[in-house]
Point group: C2
Chain length 244, copies 2
């Protein structure tokens, strides 16, 4: 799909131009990075679900070290877009925890933290999604794939951006038919209990701060040090997380 | 080793009774939970390294949403002990990020976050250690095993405490001869790149906030919700992270 076509179809859903721009920028970035399950293919999905195209997230609690937002019916992408923009305009003096209630879907978490790092902030983001990962001993889905994304800015070149889902495959890959539903388990094979534990911890962290509906938790802080150049040097040219 | 013996040997290193108590409590808890590599076996290790038994961590920056501590030569255990105590005495109104510079060794991270959760706080803690995990493509150690621990308090019973090291085995297991040094790689087998990415992100997060020496980063927040009872119900009796 071309960006023009994407823009046309999103506009037809009733989204304002600024929202269309935000969504297209996210989908384009996902396509560029090969995360096609989070790219333009999501537009057909958006066309299949009910949502209020005019909804906007609300900043319901605001302090220097803590903010709480409520998606209030807006697409999760647009909730995170607004949080990222607001954080870049008014970054914390030192650090801030941001809870985003009713924030789904959230797309590629690395996309949001990268932008914060490009603005000079250290950023850590996690988000919940439908409970698709079961306990390693079996049973129903207990957690989402609950990615954890971490971005570290650098004075010398691009930030390092990690973005790790706790699933062995993505739900998008299952939807696209390139993975089977039974492959959607915590990653790690024999040590899948570790990825499950991470998914459970992140699930409960988000739920404790952002409530029972899918949400997100972001931590942003100003760095005191720039560890990226020495880390890249030690890696001696090996590809690091988030490198293009 | 008995606790009496542990206490005697730690006292002989010149540690004050309050420090001895803190260390023994940590080692006992590690033993109880089967993390023997972090238990009494560490006393022989402490006897083999140089440290200042009278050193105390310093709170070098203090705000509602951010604190920075400097271990200042104190054992990492005692740095975290002091941070946990100070946080329980003066918890944040909403949330706080705590950077701990020069904070090593840190022991079982789950131990510290559990205590914060027993005091009603959501807590997330990570810490760096010697660079023992290499890039999946090879080369030198780039990151520590960099565990991530998350504890969620509950009004109904024990908190849920996850504590996941990014290594397939622990350094303690290698020291104890129950694992080979070449097994100390990111966990996940074919998907070890995921655990490596997590270890790298956490490594750089700590380095960006706490500097080049081993350190720790803690996030504490007051919960708005108690997701634990519903999660336990959904798990239908399956063992959850941190359960005894």
């Amino acid at each position: 799909m071309s960006s023009t076509e994407a823009r046309r179809r999103l506009s037809a859903l009733g989204l304002e131009p600024v929202a269309v721009d935000a969504l297209v920028a996210h989908f384009e970035d996902a396509e560029r990075r090969g995360k096609v399950g989070h790219g333009f293919s999501r537009i057909a999905w958006l066309e299949s679900v009910e949502f209020d195209p005019a909804a906007r997230p609300l900043l319901v609690e605001s302090g220097e070290g803590f903010e709480r937002w409520d998606g209030d019916g807006a697409l999760g992408y647009l909730v995170l877009e607004e949080i990222v923009r607001a954080t870049l305009v008014d970054p914390p003096e030192r650090a801030r925890v941001v809870a985003a209630c009713r924030c789904f879907p959230t797309g590629v978490l690395g996309y949001w933290v990268r932008r914060l790092a490009e603005g000079g902030l250290v950023a850590v983001l996690t988000a919940t999604s439908p409970r698709r990962l079961a306990h390693p001993d079996g049973g129903p889905g207990l957690t989402g794939t609950n990615p954890l994304a971490i971005a570290i800015p650098s004075n010398e070149g691009a930030p390092i951006v990690t973005d790790v889902s706790m699933g062995a495959v993505t739900h998008g890959a299952v939807l696209a038919g390139v993975a089977q539903p039974e492959e959607l388990v915590p990653f790690g094979g024999e040590q899948a209990h570790k990825a499950f534990a991470l998914a459970a911890g992140l699930e409960l962290l988000v739920s404790a701060l952002a409530g029972p509906e899918h949400g997100a938790v972001l931590v942003v802080a100003r760095p005191d040090h720039d560890p990226v150049p020495a880390f890249r040097e030690l890696a001696a040219g090996r590809r690091l997380p988030g490198d293009g």
